[in-house]
Symmetry: C2
């Protein structure tokens, strides 16, 4: 059940555009909370909260050296999240393929009926 709680936390962390932006930013380079707050035009307190959510989900780690807290990507690389979504996409594709077949079959019948009535 640990895995479930992990997915809850990481998907919740991803449900905010600023937090996704912070992850993209840290994907390019490490950054301090102050730099991130500046980049996203946000108060230090607001940015600290967002980074806290990302940290709790294991997506970001922070380290304080002197007065500067540096943020970098955490050890979790969204592998489980990608796997869950991929599995769902396969089910989804299969469901809509089924639907396509039903619609095709109905169209075929309709055309056959029209031809019969036309004769």
């Amino acid at each position: 059940m640990v895995q479930y709680a992990d997915l809850d936390a990481s998907f919740a962390a991803l449900s905010d555009a600023t937090r996704r932006g912070v992850l993209e930013q840290l994907g390019r380079a490490d950054a301090s909370i102050t730099e991130l707050a500046g980049k996203f035009r946000m108060t230090l307190t607001g940015m600290k909260k967002h980074v806290g959510v990302l940290e709790q989900a294991g997506l970001v780690t922070t380290q304080k050296v002197g007065r500067v807290r540096t943020c970098k990507l955490g050890l979790r690389g969204l592998g489980e999240e990608a796997a869950w979504i991929e599995r769902h996409r396969q089910l989804w594709d299969a469901r809509f393929d089924e639907l396509d077949k039903v619609v095709e079959e109905l169209n075929r019948k309709e055309k056959a009926d029209a031809r019969k009535n036309g004769e």
Copy 2:
């Protein structure tokens, strides 16, 4: 910016184990709210709320026929969500590859130094 709001809603919808379970269930077969409530041992009211969140995110559609509300997968197939995560995973891999190289380089230097001191 619509795209951002969409990702917010869908990732938030995925941040709950029951809602992920409902999507998996509907990936196998359509189901009524009552069936879903039974399967997940939840009150009808609780399940209605979860289905409402999934519906708002476009991941589920519902249709009421008589007294039964049937749920099926919505038209959104998590394609954008998969793309966002994939992009992040590539950045993440690249960052950790860099780190690996730094660590390797340090190890090589250390070994070289040890050899020198041993001579």
